[in-house]
């Protein structure tokens, strides 16, 4: 009889041992598959790679990947043009008013191939996995929907609300003021 009482607690305690999975290494064919985005002819939106869907959209809700994305955002000078989401010579992310949409495929393509309005192409410098990590992170900055995972706290000077706030932004409801 006592077992009935103890078991649920034991199960609960054991459930705490379940850590989030970190994928430290992608098999090369998987990584190659992740590069196969199909983009609409106007360069906005499209279908994610089959592998990406089969893996369960891995880069959107995994804290480790978001954190890696945040690291890359700082390392590769993204802050130089987009600041911490507020924009500079590049547009802001925080206001949720995105020129090419918030679709991950658009973001992925913007980073990989660049955009004619001034965004450089980073496909040469980053691996496909890194671009997906960045995509996941960039989405959290101006997120339209709250995420279940968050990157680690800012180490640097705090200049804006943290990434995983919800509702994501009010700016998404109206165009930025001009």
């Amino acid at each position: 009889m006592r077992l009935v009482v103890v078991m649920p607690f034991a199960m609960l305690a054991l459930a705490g041992c379940q850590r989030e999975e970190r994928s430290l290494r992608l098999d090369p064919p998987v990584e190659a598959g992740l590069d196969e985005v199909r983009v609409m002819s106007n360069g906005i939106g499209g279908a994610p790679p089959k592998v990406y869907v089969a893996l369960g959209r891995p880069y959107e809700n995994n804290a480790f990947d978001l954190d890696q994305g945040k690291r890359l955002y700082d390392w590769f000078g993204c802050t130089g043009c987009h600041a911490h989401g507020g924009g500079n010579t590049g547009p802001a992310f925080l206001d949720g008013w995105w020129q090419y949409g918030a679709d991950p495929v658009s973001i992925f393509v913007s980073i990989r191939d660049g955009r004619t309005a001034g965004m450089p192409a980073f496909g040469r410098y980053l691996t496909t996995e890194q671009i997906w990590q960045l995509t996941g992170y960039v989405q959290t900055i101006g997120a339209y929907s709250a995420k279940t995972a968050a990157p680690s706290r800012n180490d640097e000077m705090q200049s804006r609300p943290s990434e995983n706030r919800a509702p994501a932004t009010l700016g998404a409801l109206q165009p930025p003021s001009r």
Binding site: R25, L26, R124, Y125, E129
Partner: protein, 336 residues
């Protein structure tokens, strides 16, 4: 049974002895700082051992001594109580003396470690997950250069290292030369040591810093001043010219692919500074912070699949054709 016991005993005796030799041992000091630390360790060990023996002896005595059972348990025995009081008082006084003595000893020894020297060789080490960036400082900016995971120092000259960290807390520890000192993000720390004998000493991150903490080692190579100056001059030059067409092509691959985004090879267009400076990478004994010896094979293996060799490392698996990989490893191996 007997020979096995003997072997076991022998092994047990050899085990503590083994830590006295080799390139990473507190018990084999190679400089005054490590020696004074060793003296301190011995002083503490001896004093503590003596105290321990004394305490255990007293305890044993107290247990052995049988006490008469008094017929009048409530009667006062002033003589005996005064004696016991004096005993406790003496023990307390002895404790204070011993602790004060050890404190003074420790203070004097560590103060000696912190002494600054005008003629010291000044370096800066910055801890990254999971490697060490080393900057050789100089009043003349054009004599400042970067290397990684390997420090050369001249013997007999104090070395002052500024310690900082880029991401999490690391700890600098070269047991044969100095004590431990933490590298803390946003804080400046420093450590000084002198190597008296030429040799190669291993250092290791001594503060758990993540997945590859165990693979965050570095070498200190102590050499005569002339050899050190020669090494320093060589490090200041741009990367050596490529001699074979394979190396030439490798340089092309390196500067055109993702490699150049994170690594610098002075003398080429590669100017990234997110990973170690590779201008003279082949002159270093190990790559990936003590993981592999720097041979062309190791370069190829590391570039082909860093995430298998050092899971979690920030070096990504960059897709390369086998030709590219061959050329790039030749280029790496040429960077003496």
């Amino acid at each position: 049974m007997r020979p096995r016991l003997k072997a076991l005993l022998g092994a047990a005796c050899a085990l503590p002895g083994a830590s006295c030799v080799g390139w990473q041992s507190t018990l084999s000091p190679q400089g005054p700082h490590a020696e004074s630390l060793l003296r301190l360790i011995f002083a503490f060990a001896i004093v503590c051992a003596l105290v321990w023996i004394l305490v255990v002896a007293m305890l044993a005595g107290a247990l052995m001594r049988r006490r008469r059972i008094s017929r009048e348990p409530l009667a006062s025995r002033p003589r005996e109580e005064r004696r016991l009081g004096m005993l406790v008082g003496a023990a307390t006084a002895a404790t204070v003396v011993v602790i004060t003595g050890l404190t003074v000893l420790s203070f004097v020894a560590t103060r000696g470690l912190e002494a600054s020297h005008d003629d010291a060789l000044k370096l800066r080490m910055r801890g990254y997950q999971w490697w060490w960036e080393v900057t050789y400082l100089d009043p003349r900016p054009d004599r400042i250069f970067l290397t990684a995971n390997e420090i050369h120092v001249p013997i007999g000259r104090p070395v002052e290292i500024e310690l900082s960290a880029a991401d999490v807390i690391h700890s600098f520890w070269v047991p044969s030369l100095a004590g431990k000192k933490d590298l803390i993000p946003g804080r400046d720390n420093a450590i000084t040591f002198t190597a008296t004998r030429p040799g190669v000493y291993r250092g290791q991150c001594a503060e758990f810093c993540g997945l590859q903490h165990a693979h965050m080692a570095f070498l200190v190579i102590a050499e005569p001043p002339e050899a050190f100056d020669g090494w320093r001059r060589a490090q200041l030059t741009d990367a050596s010219a490529q001699t074979t067409s394979e190396e030439e092509r490798g340089r092309g691959v390196f500067t055109q692919k993702a490699c150049a985004a994170c690594h610098t090879v002075r003398g080429t267009s590669a100017s990234g500074s997110l990973g170690p400076d590779l201008t003279h990478v082949a002159s270093r004994r190990y790559i990936a912070a003590g993981l592999l010896e720097s041979t062309r094979g190791s370069f190829a293996a590391w570039i082909a699949d860093p995430e298998t060799l050092k899971p979690g490392s920030n070096m990504p698996n960059v897709p390369l054709t086998s030709d590219d990989l061959r050329d790039v490893s030749a280029f790496m191996a040429s960077l003496k």
